[in-house]
Amino acid sequence: MNSITRRVKYQKSLAIGALLIAVAFLIIGNLRVHKVYDADTEQFGIQAFHKISERQLVEDATFSGVLRKGLKLYSTYDRSQAGGKRACPT
């Protein structure tokens, strides 16, 4: 019975640790913003970009709304238009 109690205590402390990590991830995720550049808008070497939240980036990931080229993320659709989202390629 003692080893079971020890195991349960160990599991509970691991669960609390994992819960704290999850909450920290959620807080960081909700605070973070990402720089996403508009494709084909480079003028005089300057590219236009939008700052989008992590939520927006997750939503964009569901239909490949963002692509990575080099070290930068680029929009695959016109963010100023409501119906500009493209279909997911998968």
Partner: protein, 274 residues
Amino acid sequence: MRKRRIVQILALIFLHSSWGPQIKWLCNPVLSCHSCPLSWFACPIGVLVHYCGYHVFPFLALGTVLLIGVLLGRLLCGWMCPFGFLQDLLHRIPSPKLFLPRWTNKIKYLVLILMVFLIPFLLGEETMYSFCRICPASALQVTIPHLITAGFGTVTIATIVKLAILVGVLVLVVFSSRAFCKLFCPIGALLAPLNLISYWTVKLPTENCISCKRCDRACITDAEPSSRIAEGIPPNRALECVVCHECQPVCPKKTKQETVDGRQDTGDTSNHPS
């Protein structure tokens, strides 16, 4: 178990309906493709594939999966996953039933590491070798409806491979219960370790266990709950358990007083987190 079947049907209808909210920034850890217009939530695997391709750490997606996993373990696999529900239904087709070797359960961790994390990280999010390209749920929810609406002229080799994998999985689950969950599901691989520490526990008597193995026969993932009950461990503390609770009603000693977590039970075997 009738209660589970009702929850599965309700989850299928309510989480895949055009009138529901579109909460696609939130990952629901069940195998349901977010490219399906009816889907309410994002698929964590699809999001992780893209984030690995972006070289961005997926705080929100991983945080959500971790939170749900710590609280519930793989409960959603057993009760809410639409692809799990389909597997449950297909396995009811009368046929010889197979027990897959234990080592095959490790394949899903390889799928998770390679096809969800490593290959998209190295080759980009739109690589042909990511899990999304072969996902049978995506084939069912997106590829087939797309073929019907856009016509079969849009068929490519990738489409044929995806559909062939879907057919293979659907045939396999007729013979082996929840074979996809056990062998290939990357969401299962993500949540499996959290089963070992989750707050949700399946209550079964341990003191008076007569080793009748009825729980083993009722287990839909062949996770051998009797081996843990004999050691006084809750039966859901296993990587393969999908927390379906099917082992509870078949236990002949379920009305006894002592439970696996050491507390006194009134005979009620209802489920609750401890």
